[in-house]
């Protein structure tokens, strides 16, 4: 059964379509990652689902409640963390959790039981009686997540939960999100990093300019985009021209920018040796080559044929 259902959702800012007819559904206890560049419509989708914005068309149902008809029902069912930790700077970690517990109208007894449990799980016990002002970015984020699930909502929206975090805090946050999933919470997560979506989500929807342009499991997407990217830096532009001709003749998909060629592969030895042997055979001079994971840019390039535009929010 789908807990989140979005049908032909539309939103305009002025005349500009920000969401241009989005369809999505998230089954209970699973996570959908909404992957896309800045300005693609990720945050707008979350804002509509959490009743902060009104849709201009279509409908969205969360936990059985329509976001426009029954905002209160929706609000009782969800936990939300925005792009910035929205917790009170001057209160301590514990006081913040108390505040949110009381605002969710939980029983005092339940709040008392839940707070130490959450602090322990999020490794914040030692910082519990310090003002949030003194917390690091990673700690704030963790407290924000704790506040968001204090009332154990069936649905959680995570809007770019690891943006601006250092790699260690990012891993810690991922671990917390995985644990949320183990407790059967339905999660909609937005991210700009393919790796994050890949690591966490059951399903990935790729959004660009207000449209879903690809959807599937991360394996589906990777299979289409290529599990690894082979990046070859050629000696000069003349070599680059010959190389692209040869790749084209051999029906190998690639992107080229000046003398850098980028080829999606599945990453296994035979496919790599094939390509490199082809270069060798045609005496194409190579400076360096490397193998890397595909990025959002690669997915973007694959589906749209051009690089991500940097949108300013």
């Amino acid at each position: 059964m789908s807990i989140i259902n979005i049908e032909n959702l539309k939103k305009f800012f002025g005349k500009l379509p920000v969401l241009d007819g989005i369809n999505l559904s998230v089954p209970q206890g699973t996570m959908l990652a909404l992957l896309g560049p800045n300005g693609a419509g990720k945050t707008t989708t979350i804002k509509i689902l959490s009743t902060l914005l009104k849709p201009d068309g279509g409908r969205a149902i969360v936990n059985g409640y329509d976001v426009t008809c029954d905002p209160r029902g929706v609000r009782r069912s969800i936990g939300l963390t925005g792009q910035y930790a929205a917790i009170d700077e001057f209160l301590t970690g514990k006081e913040n959790l108390e505040l949110f517990g009381m605002l969710y109208h939980m029983h005092k007894k339940d709040i008392k039981r839940r707070i130490p449990e959450l602090l322990e799980r999020f490794e914040l016990t030692n910082a519990a009686s310090r003002a949030v002002r003194t917390y690091s970015g990673g700690m704030r984020r963790k407290l924000d997540l704790a506040a968001c699930i204090i009332a154990s909502p069936p649905v959680v929206f995570l809007d770019e939960p690891t943006t601006g975090l250092d790699p260690r805090s990012r891993l810690a946050t991922w671990e917390i999100i995985r644990e949320m999933m183990r407790s059967q919470t339905t999660i909609l997560l937005t991210t700009q990093q393919l790796e994050e979506a890949d690591q966490l989500a059951n399903n990935i929807a790729f959004i660009n300019e207000g449209k879903i342009i690809a959807e599937g499991t991360s394996d589906d997407l990777k299979l289409r985009v290529g599990g690894r990217r082979l990046e070859i830096l050629l000696k000069d532009n003349k070599n680059a021209v010959t190389a692209s001709q040869i790749l084209e003749i051999n029906n190998i998909k690639f992107n080229i920018e000046n003398r850098a060629v980028n080829i999606p592969t599945n990453g296994n030895i035979s496919s790599l040796t094939n390509i490199l042997a082809l270069m060798e055979k045609n005496s194409i001079q190579i400076d360096t080559f490397s193998l890397r994971k595909p990025t959002l840019d690669d997915v973007f390039m694959y589906y749209t044929g051009h690089k991500t535009k940097d949108f300013k929010n």
């Binding site: 209160r72 609000r75 925005g82 209160l91 969710y104």
Partner: protein
């Protein structure tokens, strides 16, 4: 509790007037172009009044905690009234002629009302900070009446101003201020100050919502409150002011409340000042509360 949303084909547009003529109460129009209507199958769960009181209390408690947890607020709260009192007293007392009373007695009500007005600006600052930090959005996603967050800031202003007023009075007693007011007069003074604070705090909530940044909140506050407190009977008798300014100063709300408190403290005739300051405060409240609520609900919704 459950309701059903129906999106109509654009060809089937219904007009607003039709809906109203039919007097079909359970139907609500959900979109600007009247293509989307809502039919409530069961009546919506009402906002419980006790829930609202809980929300207001929880969020007021949060704003009150800010008073003791924010060092800036503690400093502003204690140092500002003492400094105003000392500076105005020592700088102006030799130069300004205020008639029968000594300058300290004349000055205190002015400074008191000025610090009440400035103290009420904390609401604008708190409201703008909540907006900027994403706390407002977060609160709006909770199953609460989120305007309670503003009510919380407003009520915290009352407590803050009470503390500030007490510090100010003790400073003036130290300087030799000796008012003749009895218990009844003091109670009226406290009530007038509370209603005035309440009014200015709601006005200040509008400024907080209207300003885009925390910096512009400060400017907006100064632009509104400075003229009101200085072009008043706070520091000099209004009779000394030029034509135009004098008429403004004599009839604006801040002057009325200063004159009322001054008369109550010094045992003089209060005239219509108590009545006028109450009327002014109530007018400001009656206008500001609905505007604040509308702005708050509209904010960021497009």
């Amino acid at each position: 509790m459950m309701s059903l949303c129906i999106t109509l084909d654009t060809k089937q547009k219904i007009s607003k007037t039709n809906l109203h003529q039919d007097n079909t109460k359970p139907i609500r129009i959900m979109s600007n172009d009247f293509t989307r209507i809502e039919v409530c199958i069961k009546p919506k769960e009402p906002h419980l009044f006790t829930d609202l009181l809980t929300d207001i209390w929880v969020l007021t408690r949060r704003s009150l905690l800010h008073i003791i947890k924010n060092i800036d607020q503690i400093l502003g709260l204690t140092i500002q009234p003492i400094m105003f009192m000392l500076l105005f007293y020592f700088v102006f007392s030799g130069a300004i002629e205020v008639g029968d009373v000594d300058y300290l007695s004349f000055l205190l009500p002015g400074i008191l009302v000025q610090s009440l007005a400035f103290g009420s600006l904390y609401t604008s600052l708190s409201v703008a900070t909540d907006l900027q930090r994403g706390i407002t959005d977060r609160l709006k996603s909770l199953p609460i009446n989120s305007t309670a967050s503003i009510t919380g800031h407003v009520l915290a202003d009352l407590v803050r101003n009470l503390i500030q007023g007490i510090i100010l009075l003790f400073t003036s007693f130290f300087l030799g201020f000796n008012p003749s007011a009895g218990v009844k007069e003091w109670l009226i003074i406290i009530a007038l100050s509370a209603v005035f604070t309440f009014a200015i705090s709601w006005l200040s909530a509008i400024m907080g919502l209207a300003a885009k940044t925390i910096e512009s909140v400060n400017w907006l506050g100064f632009i509104v409150i400075f003229p009101l407190t200085f072009a008043s009977a706070a520091f000099v008798p209004t009779e000394t002011m030029p034509f135009g300014l004098r008429q403004f100063a004599q009839n604006q709300p801040v002057t009325h409340i200063i004159e009322a408190i001054r008369a109550l403290l010094l045992g003089m005739e209060t005239g219509n000042h108590i009545k006028m300051s109450l009327i002014w405060s109530l007018i400001i409240i009656a206008i500001s509360v609905p505007i604040t609520t509308i702005l708050f609900k509209q904010h960021g919704r497009n």
